[in-house]
Amino acid sequence: MTQSAVVENPLLEGLPKDRAVDPFAMVILGAHGDLTKRKLLPALYALYIDGLLPRTFAVVGMSRTVMTDEQFRQAMKESIQKYAPDLKFEEEAWERFAAGLYYKPSNFTEDGSFDELASFLDTLKEKHGTGGNHVFYLSTPPSLYEPIITQLSNSKLVSKKKVTDKPWQRVIVEKPFGHDLASSLALDDHIHKVLSENQVYRIDHYLGKETVQNIMVLRFANGIFEPLWNRQHVDHVQITIAETLGVEGRGPYYEESGCLRDMIQNHMLQLVSLVAMEPPISLEPEASRDEKAKVLKALRPILPEDVDRCAVRGQYGEGYINGAKVPGYRQEDRVAPDSATETYAALKLTIDNWRWAGVPFYVRSGKRLAKSLTEIAIHFKRAPHSLFAGLTGLKAGQKMDDDSLSPNVLVLKIQPDEGISLKFATKQPGATTQIRWLNMDFNYGTAFGVRSPSAYERLIHDCLLGDASLFARTDSVETSWRFIQPLLENWDLSKQKKGPQPRFPNYAAGSWGPAEADELIGSTGHTWRRL
């Protein structure tokens, strides 16, 4: 029988096309951290009880903390029960799952520290039938990325592979992918000395959320939206990523990072690219990644002299959140009392391509805002003729420049309640011709009535399948850093006390950000959505 016939097993025809995960061993580096407890192990366990993991697999936790396998299993069991209450926890299923959990204390930067891991993975190949397929999850501080990748290479645990090579070796890298353009390029260079791009999975958990994935379905599976999704019909786009939380004990990290690096460079620009991308030619991973990268490349660069015209930064002072008084950023633990780090950023983006010419994209993100919420709002142009103007109190010929005839707004709600909402006009019931504006809401949680998998479940599963669609590609990462670099340089001068100092704090905790952000969006006659 020929090679091609080997691929075409006639008995497989018509069977449901399960995307089956190969047997594997996952090594979580930094397994004693919060991410492992809160997200990674609950995600793996959820995949296991949903039958999405293969019959044979193993998970090895590694960190500096000394622990036995049994202590690790117990800690993970408690984490799952604590942080994933929506999962059906059954002792019997847990026991089967936990039989594949191991722990190896290790100092990642010591030479030879991974040799022992290599021999342990060989043991697991025999004991658990992992097939020699390995995924290394870098859940460590970014400063350890380079040394870990070096050690993995030195111990022959990873080397450059083609996408079809088996057994496979994959590395998942958590954000941030660098601190600025130069460090991002340096990290990528280092990674690519050891690994091929197809082996690198840069995780941005926003891309694993159901509604984010639904953006493509909404746009490209429905005939009614895409014809309107352009400069002819869209007036402007607003994207908001708002948090009520402060820095939550991560002061030192946030002092280095700030909102621009923490949210805008990655999550926000990924959302922009999904909303603005052209239809991909297929569902192959590279097809959608190509289109997303094109959007980022089409972002009009912000010149140093335009920074103040296109971007606003803010820092929260003390205020009230949910009825409780909260301190200002400069009063947070391990934050400099004269810190110039931004906890809020708002940008006006311009996409220089045929589809979006002249359509501003306003994006904002901040900590200690009035509400925790992420949404994308597509504001359509108003009706071209004011047929109902008289009904709204306008005189004939009066310009419709107030809200009395609002535009249609399509809102893609990403969190906390994932769903879609469309604002449209309707007639007030009764003997009147008054117009009322309504929201037609679709809510994921209630429409389907089932638990939506967490972003980490989806992303880990995709990585195990070798599907990188929802992971950031090297060129996208580089382009997004390149785009915000002028802003970083400008704002970092203040942080280093080399430039003009911003008048921080400039917004109260519990508000919707600094007044300058209203002026930014007001420059084109728009206002931020009241959320």
Binding site: M1, A5, V6, N9, P10, L11, L12, E13, G14, L15, P16, G51, R55, T56, P85, D86, D403, S406, D417, S421, K423, R436, W437, L438, N439, M440, D441, F442, N443, G445, T446, A447, F448, G449, V450, R451, R529, R530, L531
Partner: protein, 431 residues
């Protein structure tokens, strides 16, 4: 009988409705009664208004308060993504079906219409409505509710029943007809088939296997056919997967080159006794499995016979003969007629010689899995060496899970149609 329209529904009525109690309603006013019940529920919680019969929630508010209005807490949400019409001739169908629909409705919130037909000389139509609710999550305490309408018809035929059901389906949402009856009759089905998008049947329930299979084949070969999903065919998915995987190159014991070498197939099915009497019905599930194998591998039937619960058929593949048989296996732990083991023997070229290989896929008593083993003279180099592989899980294949699968995929399955055609020919040949 329920109250009139000019009277508001009482709290007790709405509570009973949401609790799943059947409320009898006038057949002519089913839709109106449902509207009144939902309106009463909406009025009882002014924070939230639901749409009227639509699969979306509409929240109303002033322009500036749009989002505040849409985020107010709510306890009861209506949801509907499909219509499921369940046809049964069993008076107790509500009880059995209700438990299954409870499970299905979690993944597919739907309007369930139970159409119960009972043969009687005197015609009578009755209807009841109830809601099916489940908690969306423990945090919000929201209940997701969908509706159930039960229509019971005493009389002959299905035209009257279908005429009641037809206007009850919600526009623009898919209509799935779950034919939960022991007989399949296109004449009976026809009044329903005008407005349904997919038909679900279960040949494991067939009182007359020959007739049932022929009707299925007839339906799938109609020019204006609609997707038909046989739950019994669905139950074979793990068996088909296990056999296919056993022959895929990546997964031992056998490999793809073994397929042309298959010389013998023995399929055992669960039976109350190992030696069925002469009047035993043809077991549908193993017959479908054998037909599937023969169509996929391009075997031509040579002869077939059926006697005493045992079915035998000879096939040709080129010059090679394949001997196949289906035989009962005494088991009280598996469903009557369900496949419990498959043995496939092959003669495979190996190192210049022809070696014997044997694959056994079996469901062991009490186990929810299919286990696959092989005897291979070639692989291990020593005769009789046993190679075990993993197990294919059967545990999830409840009736609800199979319906769930059918509703998700709405399969128009060419492999199934080909298998059915082959099964019909095998049955005819075995007469």
């Amino acid at each position: 009988m329920s109250s009139s329209t000019d009277k508001r529904k009482s709290t007790t009525e709405t509570h009973n409705f949401l609790s799943g109690h059947l409320s009898q309603v006038d057949v002519q006013r089913i839709e109106r009664e449902l509207k009144d019940l939902w309106r009463a529920i909406d009025d009882a919680k002014p924070d939230e208004r639901t749409s009227d019969g639509e699969p979306v929630k509409v929240t109303e508010g002033k322009d500036a308060d749009l989002n505040q209005a849409s985020t107010k807490p709510a306890n009861v949400m209506r949801a509907c993504t499909a219509n499921i019409v369940l046809f049964s001739e069993d008076a107790d169908a509500e009880v059995e079906a209700s438990a299954i629909l409870d499970e299905v409705a979690i993944r597919h919130p739907c309007r369930a219409i139970l159409a119960i037909s009972r043969r009687a000389t005197e015609q009578r139509l009755e209807a009841w409505v109830s809601a099916r609710c489940h908690m969306a999550d423990s945090k919000s305490l929201k209940q997701i509710c969908s509706e159930q309408i039960t229509v019971r018809y005493d009389g002959e035929g299905t035209k009257e029943l279908a005429s009641v059901v037809s206007p009850l389906v919600i526009n623009d949402l898919p209509v799935v007809l779950w034919w939960r009856a022991n007989r399949l009759d296109r004449g009976y089905l026809e009044p329903f088939s005008r407005f349904v998008d997919m038909l679900i049947v279960d040949s494991l329930r067939a009182a007359d296997a020959r007739g049932f299979i022929k009707e299925m084949s007839g339906i799938t070969n109609q020019s204006a056919r609609k997707p038909l999903f046989d739950l019994n065919w669905g139950r074979l998915i793990p068996w088909r997967r296990a056999i296919a995987d056993a022959f895929s190159d990546a997964a031992p014991p056998m490999s793809l080159p073994s397929l042309p070498g298959i010389s013998k197939v023995v399929i055992s099915y669960a039976s109350a006794s190992a030696s069925a009497d002469g009047n035993a019905a043809i077991p549908v599930q193993p017959l479908l499995l054998l037909s599937w194998l023969s169509t996929r591998l391009g075997w031509a039937r040579d002869s077939a016979s059926f006697s005493g619960g045992r079915f035998s058929a000879e096939f040709k593949s080129g010059k090679k003969s394949i001997s196949t048989s289906i035989q009962p296996f005494q088991s009280d732990k598996l469903s009557e007629g369900a496949v419990c083991s498959v043995v496939i023997e092959a003669e495979t070229p190996c190192d210049g010689k022809v070696m014997a290989e044997r694959m056994i896929a079996e469901q062991r008593p009490g186990s929810p899995c299919i286990y696959v083993l092989s005897d291979s003279d070639c692989r291990k180099g020593e005769p009789g060496a046993e190679v075990g592989t993993g197990a294919e899980s059967l545990i999830e294949l409840t009736e609800a899970r199979l319906i769930d699968f059918a509703m998700e995929s709405m399969p128009d399955d060419l492999v199934f149609r080909q298998t059915l055609d082959c099964t019909v020919k095998l049955i005819d040949a075995a007469k």
